[in-house]
């Protein structure tokens, strides 16, 4: 079936139409990590880091293929423009470094939505995420969230559109017991922290809304100024899962977000053989 045919919305299936939507099974009977991302370096997968920017040429990150900044305008939608500022606070560089440590050859795009004061508007966050989805990112890392309910509905719509457009959004759960978005939505992959040191150990959580736990305590990450910093928090667990998703999408580009989530579930460290 062609990609174009797949994109035509089908609201019903006419009699005898099943043949037209035949889809080859994407994975073997036994779904292993070797099948999922063995041999993958992330080459071919495009990852957007929606954050504070990424320091260019940081040895812990490597080349950043593109960097854009979202800036509010007096009227209308915020503008998305090429960015030469790098990273204003370090957080985005840290996330990019973790992703590259797992998927060294993935294509990185920095989408800067946070300013120097570590803050950003919900409007800029929405515009940055929309840009990442519309430019066809395979994976979006969102180690941030908003507590503002006024943005929840629009974020929800964006997350659902990404889900159907094959963009995997990996989003940090808040580090405190508070409501924030978009990690709460089922169409994204939400991540919290565990305390182990292996970057490839991750757990499926049978009690959502946090769906996966990844390494997030005492992580040595690249930071602004060419240095490193030891960090703790879900912000740093999230890019571990984003990196694994980049490996997956590089090796199996046709996987949809729900298939990616299924593969993560099947290959999680706590899923025992039947």
């Amino acid at each position: 079936m062609s990609e174009a045919a797949r994109l035509i919305p089908a609201w019903s299936l006419p009699a005898g139409g099943a043949g037209a939507i035949a889809v080859a099974r994407r994975w073997p009977d036994e779904l292993t990590r070797e099948w999922a991302w063995g041999g993958s370096t992330g080459r071919g997968a495009r990852v957007c880091v929606v954050d504070s920017g990424v320091e260019t040429d940081h040895p812990g990150v490597g080349p950043v293929q593109r960097a854009v900044v979202v800036e509010a305008r007096p009227e209308g939608e915020p503008a998305v423009e090429e960015d030469e500022e790098g990273d204003l606070c370090g957080h985005g560089t840290a996330c990019a470094g973790i992703i590259r440590s797992l998927a060294p050859d993935c294509e990185l795009t920095s989408v800067r939505v946070l300013g120097a004061g570590y803050t950003g508007s919900g409007g800029n966050l929405l515009a940055g995420l929309r840009w990442a989805i519309e430019t066809g990112a395979d994976v979006v890392n969102m180690s941030l969230s908003t507590t503002k309910r006024q943005f929840a509905e629009l974020l929800h719509e964006l997350a659902d559109s990404a889900y159907f457009r094959r963009t995997v959004i990996v989003a940090s759960a808040h580090n405190m017991p508070v409501e924030s978005y978009p990690w709460r939505f089922a169409s994204v992959i939400s991540v919290g922290s565990h305390e182990e040191v292996d970057p490839l150990v991750f757990y499926y959580n049978p009690s959502p809304p946090v769906e996966f736990f990844a390494r997030g305590v005492g992580v040595d990450v690249p930071w602004v100024g060419g240095g490193t910093l030891r960090c703790t928090g879900n912000s740093f667990a999230t890019p571990h899962i984003a990196g694994i998703c980049a490996l997956l999408k590089a090796k199996h580009p046709d996987l949809t977000p729900f298939e990616v989530k299924s593969v993560l579930h099947a290959t999680a460290s706590n899923i025992a053989a039947p």
């Binding site: 606070c89 957080h91 570590y118 405190m176 508070v178 305590v217 240095g227 910093l229 928090g233």
Partner: protein, 209 residues
């Protein structure tokens, strides 16, 4: 009743200023005790000035610290307010987010700390910091501090509302009379209170008729 009247009446009843300070001190002291830390402090956000203000602290430096102000984006506390996320720092001096000038001004340079935002719905009231403990923070302790901070933020929010209402009382506007009345009735002994309430009910009936 309008919110202002609610607030003015509430303020008249809680006698907020002293209890507000006591609440702040109690939060800081309990946080220090829970985590067996050397010290703890609370910085609240002054939105008008866009500054963080030390409102409570434990330990020897406390009297000197309380009242000190810094620009809201400053240092680790500024990061926590900006991101609304808690932060664990094991080596404060090596952290680029640390404001060395603030540590110098306060006369106390912590080695390690955990800072957590005080959140009420969509607002951030300030930061609670727990400084220098013997062991590093585990995820379970982060969660515990988050839960404690949420409880503290609810109490602080209530007290802050009452405190704002003090301004209404002090202003002597039309609403101040209502609040003074509420405070006066509250202060009456058991013997005279029923009469006062009866009088108020009569006034209420006249005003509604």
């Amino acid at each position: 009743m309008s919110d202002d009247v609610h607030a003015a009446v509430a303020a008249a009843l809680v006698g907020s200023r002293e209890r507000y300070r006591a609440l702040l001190s109690s939060i800081a002291e309990v946080a220090r005790a829970i985590f067996a830390a050397k010290a703890s402090s609370i910085l609240l956000l002054d939105q008008e000035e866009d500054e963080l203000v030390f409102e409570a602290a434990t330990g020897e430096e406390a009297p000197r610290l309380v009242g000190m102000r810094f620009p809201a984006g400053t240092g680790i506390a500024g990061w926590v307010v900006g991101t609304r996320q808690p932060l664990v720092v094991e080596d404060v001096a090596a952290d680029p987010r640390h404001a060395h000038e603030v540590a110098q001004a306060t006369g106390y340079a912590p080695k390690g700390l955990m800072a957590v935002p005080l959140l009420v719905d969509e607002r951030v009231l300030g930061v609670l910091e727990v400084l220098d403990r013997q062991t590093t923070f585990s995820l379970a302790e982060m969660e515990l501090l988050g839960l404690f901070a949420n409880q503290a933020a609810i109490a602080l929010d209530l007290m802050q509302r009452a405190r704002e209402a003090e301004a209404i009382l002090a202003g002597g506007g039309e609403l101040a009379a209502v609040a003074r009345l509420a405070a006066a009735v509250d202060a009456l002994g058991e013997e005279r209170r029923p009469q006062a309430l009866e009088l108020l009910r009569a006034i209420d009936a006249v005003l509604r008729s």
